[in-house]
């Protein structure tokens, strides 16, 4: 479905930010990327969606009928068409505050609407109805007329997820989606994201190993631009240390102890896929 091949990003002065990142994501996976600050999690995401140029390597998305889209070597209209198929969720939601919630969701399909129609007419009623359905899925159907800027952080993130759902992408990319949220909202968001992964894979970057351990099907550990771990979501203390080394800013003992017990709820196979 999505394959990242030898993604490399070098600065002009020679510093290597991303070092030949390679991984493949299949249908049904919920991949969590872990790593300390500066490891390159966000950078990887940005390269995958074409916001930052890469020095080498490629990112390829494969659709239903085998159509492929790449985001790394193209620009302009081609990039626009490729981006239609990726639903991106950002850390701070990054919604347009002055528009209503419904309008923010409807923005999700701009890639499929002709610009002229956007300017002259706007959205259609049917698009509004479908957007409302997406809002309903995240539980915010009654918020459709509210001004987006008046929502709380957790609510805004849910609207962002609704936008991504409405987009009907091939896969979702989430750049630190729960980093700015409190624990209760974080869990709510993760609980929203988890079922989505069944239809379309999600790749998300996180800095909470306990969250990825509970909700993800697979974890990638990123350190200094290199993948140092690729496997089941429950990491041992040693594996975590390898990713974070001295950078473990969370309460190390509690986190590791919490993960040494069984994860409730979801049966996971050893290869990290949902059943």
């Amino acid at each position: 479905m999505l394959s990242v091949n030898s993604l490399t990003k070098r600065l002009p002065d020679g510093t290597v930010l991303l070092n030949a990142i390679t991984f493949t994501v299949e249908k049904g996976e919920f991949v969590g990327i872990l790593g300390p600050s500066g490891a390159g999690k966000s950078l990887t995401m940005r390269c995958m969606v074409g916001l930052t140029s890469v020095s080498a390597g490629s990112v390829v998305f494969t659709g239903e009928q085998g159509r492929t889209y790449t985001t790394t070597t193209i620009k302009g209209n081609e990039l626009r068409r490729a981006r239609r198929n990726i639903g991106v969720i950002f850390q701070g939601s990054n919604l347009v505050n002055r528009l209503t919630v419904l309008e923010n969701v409807m923005i999700g399909r701009l890639g499929r609407i002709h610009p002229l129609r956007s300017w002259l007419y706007g959205f259609t009623d049917r698009e509004a109805e479908e957007a409302l359905a997406a809002l309903d899925r995240v539980g915010l159907a009654s918020f459709s007329g509210r001004q987006t800027g008046s929502l709380s952080g957790g609510e805004m993130q849910r609207v962002a997820i609704a936008r991504a759902i409405y987009q009907r992408p091939l896969c979702y990319l989430a750049d630190e989606p729960i980093a700015s949220l409190d624990p209760k909202n974080s869990r709510a968001i993760m609980k929203l994201l988890q079922p989505l992964a069944r239809d379309h894979p999600i790749v998300g970057s996180f800095h909470q190993p306990d969250m990825t351990a509970e909700f993800c099907t697979r974890v990638l550990g990123l350190r200094n631009g290199t993948i140092v771990y690729d496997g089941p979501p429950r990491l041992t203390r040693a594996q975590l240390a390898e990713i974070y080394s001295q950078d473990l800013s969370l309460e190390p003992e509690e986190t590791l102890d919490a993960m040494s017990g069984p994860v409730l709820g979801h049966p996971v196979t050893s290869t990290g896929h949902w059943l």
Partner: protein
């Protein structure tokens, strides 16, 4: 308190020193010199002022009472004055959206931005009345020249505001819309305009008030309306009629100020645009 302590607290003459102003002395003398120089250049003549005051005050008697029966014929020119401002402001606001887009770093290429910013600075730098004089030389007197002059003036103010507002838009919002596959035009429509339009609306209302004042002024130089009535009355030495015209323009400006303040507070409190 003992006498000794009292004495030490008592303020003595030599405590009044201007010493602490000494470091300002240089600057103050510079200021004073400038004032004197300017006064000489501007032909300030206190003597004239005092005698003139007397003359002026007696002149006031000439102006009063205002010629009340001239009032009805002032209504149409007043209406024209308002119309000039009322048409120039929305046209100017629309044009300033275009100018603002062309003047912003995030949308326009560097050369376009530089050119537009210079144009806007010029439009702001040249007083509207001078612009009107040029337009009158080209198109003749009448409300048309007035409207065009005010449109140009409005673009000078609003264009800069829109350009700055667009440059201050959070780039992450723009990125997030771009990631859905939106084209450049769609990004402008959905990520940029909603942020810019409410403040543009509020500023346009303020500009309307400014334009009304300007319209009165421009009228005297040939744009028609109440300004024209005022200046012709003055030149025909019909001071009472001039007083009426002045009163009408006064009322106009005041009404415009109230209306603009009221509407502006409504827009700012609503915060959202339909």
């Amino acid at each position: 308190m003992t006498r000794a302590v009292e004495r030490s607290f008592a303020v003595r003459w030599r405590d009044f020193s201007l010493g602490r102003y000494r470091r300002h002395l240089r600057r103050l003398t510079l200021l004073a010199a400038l004032v004197v120089l300017a006064a000489w250049r501007a032909e300030v003549n206190m003597h004239d002022l005092i005698t003139g005051l007397g003359r002026g005050l007696s002149m006031v008697g000439l102006f009063l009472p205002p010629k009340w029966d001239a009032f009805p014929e002032m209504i149409e020119p007043a209406f024209v004055t308002v119309l000039i401002a009322a048409t120039a402001t929305p046209i100017g606001a629309l044009c300033s959206i275009l100018f603002g887009l062309a003047a912003s770093r995030n949308i326009a290429p560097a050369w376009l931005r530089a050119a537009t910013r210079t144009a806007i600075a010029l439009e702001r730098g040249i007083p509207e009345i001078v612009i009107l004089l040029i337009l009158v030389a080209a198109f003749g007197i009448g409300p048309f020249s007035g409207v065009v002059a005010l449109v140009i003036g409005s673009i000078g103010m609003l264009g800069k505001l829109v350009g700055d507002a667009i440059e201050e838009i959070d780039p992450r919002t723009v990125e997030s819309v771009a990631c859905t596959g939106a084209s450049r035009a769609q990004i402008i429509r959905y990520a940029m305009l909603p942020e810019v339009l409410p403040s543009l609306l509020a500023n346009s209302m303020f500009r309307f008030e400014v334009n009304i004042r300007a319209s009165v002024l421009l009228g005297a130089v040939g744009a028609g309306g109440i300004g024209y009535e005022l200046s012709t009355a003055m030149s025909q030495v019909e001071y009472n009629k001039a007083a009426t015209a002045a009163l009408v323009s006064f009322a106009l400006v005041m009404a415009a100020e109230r209306a603009s303040d009221h509407l502006r507070s409504k827009v700012l409190s609503r915060g959202q645009l339909a």
